[in-house]
Symmetry: C2
Subunit: 386 residues, 2 copies
């Protein structure tokens, strides 16, 4: 019955789709339109990420040539978690590769909350730092909300600040930054020429860092979005209505091939380790979708690894570039692509982007002085040039 | 085909419903459970609103008895729009009825933005004002974002501040206030014993003041939410899957009876004037749903007028009470019912509710001093007692 219902919906939705959809079982389902970033129906996240890093490096070089200054990213890590340390190393290396100067703070597991906050405040007021990232998870004795909330909103390149999430949710408003992984998902869709406007999108998962912001980004791009979660009943029939599926539940291979409407695009955000004795490590990573099953039905699908994974750091670098541009040029730049056009229409200093009282942190106070402050900012920067 | 699909989905969804649903055409569809606030399947918004105003008045009286102080609401109106003036009059009258002291500022159509901002700032720093409301729409020459953004977030009883919207969207966070009309919709559902958790909810419309916050509130209450809008294709088949329909598109009688799953609950936020020569005024108000058609199919439905309308002011009064309690008692109180429990678990002064840097406005700065500041606050208040 639910399969019938899905078929019913498919026909309606597919008739509106730009391209014919493959029959179930076709393992070479064509993408909605030719894209250099797809091999058959598999989205090459590494290639898209490389392209964005290349674009970012070029703009960093421009900034450096014009202002003799480059964007700076500060990465804060607390404790000795191996995985966190690996991520942080990758992020710092990625900065170097695109010419972004990287600032680090490695605190011991025993660091107090006040010590962590002190580090964040230091970076907030450091004019060479334009983005601040606190590697999660933090040790249990530290209040994550307090630490993330302490990051100056203009340097919140992770886009996790409630003010940025709120502006992401609101019509006619734009965040200073949107969260990196969900923006990465949008980039994969757009650079693979997958239409979002008017499409049915189902986001599986509603986390603050992926599910919810992904749903808000899809809505801003005029998709009709449904958010599924642990309390959702008959998830299968809901997912089967989707033209676009964002799988971000953190459950290995939750989305089966039978859940997927033929021709649908699947962006798989999951990276779940599952035992695999054939691997040296004894495990392998799988996504939230069953890749082989879904690949046979989908019009486009991201692999795990090599799909969404590489995008997160690429967008982090781009967010840092955008922030650096704002500070270094003293002009308002547009954070991200399509859905940010509204934001772009507002020209003027940073103070124009956030209405009074939304200004937070020392730099807001500076920015609030608008042009005058922007001038002052410039002088500060100039005096700090390396 | 789409009707088949809907039926397919209905069966799945209805089987999970707590009560049997009426057959199409039954004009006396019972509510999901007996409620004193329903007549047949029609939700009596006036009765629910009256109950909330009664509860609010009782708590205001308690505050007055214990602290010799009452919550205060400031309503700012700019220009001579008849409808706005009527709303403002109603709000001030409602304040008096529950014992909330009301502060007014009526500015001429010609007021400059700076003049309006000055008024807002004045109320921000007035310790007898705990809620500030700017009547919309504002004259075209005034930047609505700037004015709304100028309201201190702790006095944002309308819940429109992006920081409150962001916290509404985020897991593990709670806003200081949620927007009145959407909260009113939740109250209607809950007080009529309509289950939200695990249900399919469709919100038609994605405005900042109703559609989006309603979707976020439903998601926080564990409904599976779909947001429909102008770019949505085949809206009819999507709405037909809903156990709960929030109609907030501002289009007269958009939702037809044929769009409604038997037994579904319909909360109609629309109030559209349509010509009606039989009326003295020459027009009558209709909702975004075709009431007669939908009433015949729905398990519960709000009339227009007399449904959602009366709830908005009732929740505004309750939000003002909650804000007054925070300031007057110096303790953290829980903004709204069920979905706010997370917020409640945090005991302590107001500064505990918003992490560092999310504090905005003079009162935040005061609050940031935590207990010490709370003491100071108390002394200020005492010295101001009427």
């Amino acid at each position: 019955m639910s399969s019938e219902s899905a078929t019913g919906n498919n026909v309606a939705a597919v008739s509106a789709a730009p391209t014919p959809t493959p029959s179930i079982g076709s393992s070479t389902a064509p993408p909605p339109a030719a894209s250099p970033f797809m091999k058959g129906n598999v989205i090459d996240g590494k290639a898209v990420a490389a392209k964005i890093r290349e674009e970012t490096a070029a703009k960093v070089a421009e900034l450096k040539a014009k202002y003799s200054r480059v964007p700076g990213l500060a990465v804060v890590i607390v404790g000795e978690r191996k995985d966190s340390q690996t991520y942080v190393r990758m992020k710092r290396k990625a900065c170097e590769e695109v010419g972004i100067s990287s600032f680090g703070a490695d605190l011991p597991e025993t660091a107090t909350q006040e010590e962590v906050l002190e580090v964040v405040r230091g970076f907030n007021s450091n004019p060479d730092v334009h983005g601040i990232l606190v590697q999660l998870p933090l040790p249990k004795h530290i209040d994550e909300q307090a630490v993330l909330g302490a990051i100056s909103v203009e340097k919140d390149v992770d886009g996790f600040h409630p003010l940025n999430i709120g502006r992401l949710a609101m019509k006619g408003r734009e965040p200073l930054f949107a969260p990196c992984t969900p923006v990465g998902c949008m980039e994969l869709l757009e650079r693979c020429n997958i239409t979002i406007k008017g499409k049915r999108a189902v986001v599986v998962g509603r986390s603050n860092i992926v599910g919810m912001p992904a749903a808000l980004l899809l809505n801003k791009r005029d998709a009709t979005v449904t958010i599924c979660h642990s309390a959702t009943k008959d998830m299968e029939s809901i997912v089967r209505q989707a033209d676009i599926i964002i799988a971000a539940a953190g459950q290995p291979q939750l989305v089966k091939g039978s859940w997927v409407k033929p021709g649908a695009a699947i962006i798989d955000v999951g990276t779940n380790p599952v035992d695999d004795p054939t691997k040296a490590a004894g495990y392998r990573l799988v996504g939230d979708a069953n890749f082989e099953e879904c690949k046979a039905v989908a019009g486009a699908i991201t692999p795990v690894p090599g799909g969404v994974g590489p995008m997160t750091i690429a967008i982090l670098l781009r967010n840092t570039l955008v922030s650096g541009e704002r500070f270094i040029t003293g002009k308002l730049q547009c954070p991200v692509a399509e859905d940010m056009k509204a934001g772009c229409s507002k020209k003027g200093p940073l103070s124009r982007l956030l209405p009074e009282k939304e200004h937070l942190g020392p730099w807001s106070l500076v920015a609030a002085g608008s042009l005058l402050a922007a001038g002052a900012l410039q002088r500060v920067f100039t005096s700090r040039r390396q």
